[in-house]
């Protein structure tokens, strides 16, 4: 059996949940078994996970607020109850605190941020990016049980079935030792790690008052905004927008980098993007080496022109 833990911030399933179930479904098919999805706490519309291949959706009531200790205990109990050999979770803020804990509880081998469906031809081999995207490692897991977290924006959700009923799972729910006091998230936009389209700007913007053209571009594209580190450091942009080695690592379908030089530490967080567009007035900017499309020009001319072109395109399509 394959068990997929789906995180559900504020009771809502996100794309990462559908991606994880899609991955679980593909893995289960390879292993000739089924996938069971697990939700914890009060979750809206969890039956929808059936559409992505969950044969069954289990819910553990209580434990609404996140504590890696109690959630890991719940996941491990459910895994044992259903006889799961493979446990899958998203590589998000919950997965990053749970993966190691669940692996220890189940005495399982674990790999984080997996980017390939397991190759079960010889052993159980999964790939993951290492050295900040400069290489790919293939890991073989030799234990009976395996725990994996999967990279975001890597396994597009696929609808393969219909909604299923949600069943209550009965486990001991340990008391939380971590007390969640506040959850402060931006509302109305897709959080960066989940965004398919990202518009990012750096020091080339000169002044925080110039961000209007960036916000406009993001709005007409339906994109999420990001920034380089110096821009967040001086407070021009909020800290959670900072991408790169020390910030958020993302892999959107489209990353538009505006007035960003493309330092290696910046690239480390964005080089997995599927398509990269670079707008920079310096033809020697290192970012062009990582770009799919490059525009050499003054961003204060280019971006407004790009905004007009996209508006025209959106109106016609």
């Amino acid at each position: 059996m394959v068990l997929v833990y789906t995180s559900s911030p504020e009771g809502q399933l996100k794309k990462s949940a559908f991606e994880a179930v899609t991955f679980g479904h593909k893995t289960a098919q390879q292993l000739g078994t089924e996938v069971v999805a697990l939700t914890i706490g009060n979750v809206n519309n969890a039956g929808v996970l059936g559409q992505y291949g969950a044969a069954k959706v289990l819910n553990v009531a209580g434990a609404d607020s996140f504590d890696s200790g109690s959630h890991a205990a719940i996941i491990a109990q459910v895994a044992n109850q259903i006889g799961a050999n493979v446990v899958v979770m998203p590589d998000d803020s919950t997965g990053k605190s749970l993966l190691g804990r669940v692996a220890v509880r189940l005495d399982a081998g674990s790999v984080s941020s997996v980017k390939s469906v397991p190759d079960t031809g010889a052993g159980f081999v999964v790939q993951k990016n290492v050295f900040s995207g400069k290489a790919i490692a293939a890991y073989n897991i030799s234990s009976d049980k395996k725990v994996l977290s999967i990279a975001g924006n890597t396994f597009p959700p696929e609808v393969v079935g219909a909604d299923v009923a949600v069943e209550a799972a009965s486990v001991d729910v340990p008391a939380n030792r971590v007390r969640v006091k506040e959850v402060n998230t931006v509302k109305g936009t897709v959080p960066l790690p989940e965004a398919e389209l990202v518009v990012s700007a750096g020091r080339g913007m000169k002044d925080p008052g110039n961000w209007g053209i960036i916000d406009e571009l993001a709005e007409i594209l339906g994109a999420t905004t990001a920034c380089s580190r110096p821009v967040a450091d001086v407070g021009w942009r909020p800290h959670h927008e900072h991408v790169g080695q020390t910030g958020v690592a993302i892999r959107p379908n489209l990353y538009i980098a505006i007035g960003i030089s493309g330092a290696i530490q910046h690239l480390a967080g964005v080089n997995q993007s599927k398509t990269i567009v670079v707008i920079n007035k310096d033809p020697e900017a290192p970012f062009f080496k990582a770009a799919d499309y490059g525009i050499v020009g003054d961003l204060f001319d280019v971006v407004p022109r790009l905004n007009e072109a996209i508006k025209k395109f959106k109106a016609a399509n």
Partner: protein, 246 residues
């Protein structure tokens, strides 16, 4: 308070990566090693600040061979009181976590600090593993932490924002940017570090469950296609019909 900071040694970010032994091992020729930045700048410095504010000791721990002593001495020069090195070539995340947990149990620490990830294998696993082995609460990606008696208030990064949590000692956390500011070791620190205890201990036996089968380099990026700055319609068309992203 007794504080333990787990530090690892990694190739510098700007290192050119290549492999040997039939693509199963990193080619260490010419590789510049550093202390993992999250461990050095954020985890270690925040631990030192807590000690300076409320007293106690800061111990650093590393699982690795004698070569790692330079990195450990740097941690001592920045201000840690003593160090433990578990003398082994290393292994999987689980292997390293078991070694750390074994020593941490003996020391009965109030807090165990990790970096959010190592910048080489980007595992982000060891902190959670050790926390589970020690049955401690674990807070990942901490960007701010204040102590009040035995209770910590911690901000941690979550998708699109942050979460504020409270937890009592003992606990473990992983450090992200924001938790503290980098400190440069001074001459006095470097001199003193030479006399601070660095205890080398033997590893315990742990069988690995995960191993690297092979490494590959990502496919070479195609050359950038330049588009005339006057012609944004062309860019939009390419993004739509060629890249298929809008």
């Amino acid at each position: 308070m007794k504080l333990l900071v787990c530090v690892s040694k990694t190739p510098d970010t700007t290192t050119k990566i290549s492999f040997t032994d039939n693509d199963t091992a990193l080619n260490t020729q010419g590789v510049q090693y550093i202390m993992n930045p999250y461990d050095e700048w954020y985890a270690l410095v925040r631990a030192l600040e807590l000690k300076e504010a409320a007293g106690g000791t800061v111990t650093i721990i590393n699982v690795g061979p004698a070569d790692n002593d330079t990195v450990i001495r740097k941690g001592l020069a920045i201000g840690a009181d003593d160090a433990i090195r578990i003398d082994t070539a290393g292994g999987s995340a689980y292997f390293v976590a078991r070694q750390i947990a074994e020593q941490a149990k003996v020391g009965a620490y109030d807090m165990v600090f990790f970096g959010k990830e190592t910048i080489d294998y980007n595992g982000s696993q060891i902190g959670a593993m050790v926390a589970e082995m020690l049955e401690m609460p674990f807070i990942s990606y901490a960007t701010k932490m204040d102590m009040n008696g035995n209770t910590a208030t911690i901000a941690r990064d979550i998708e699109g924002g942050q979460e504020i949590v409270e937890v009592d000692t003992p606990f473990a956390l992983s450090a992200a940017k924001g938790l503290a500011e980098q400190r440069i070791p001074n001459m006095r620190g470097i001199m003193m570090a030479k006399r601070k205890p660095l205890n080398v201990v033997a590893p315990i036996e742990v069988s690995d469950k995960v191993s690297v089968a092979s490494y590959t380099l990502p496919p070479a990026k195609q050359d950038c296609r330049y588009i005339d700055a006057e012609n944004m319609d062309e860019l939009v068309n390419l993004l739509h019909s060629e890249a298929k992203v809008i």
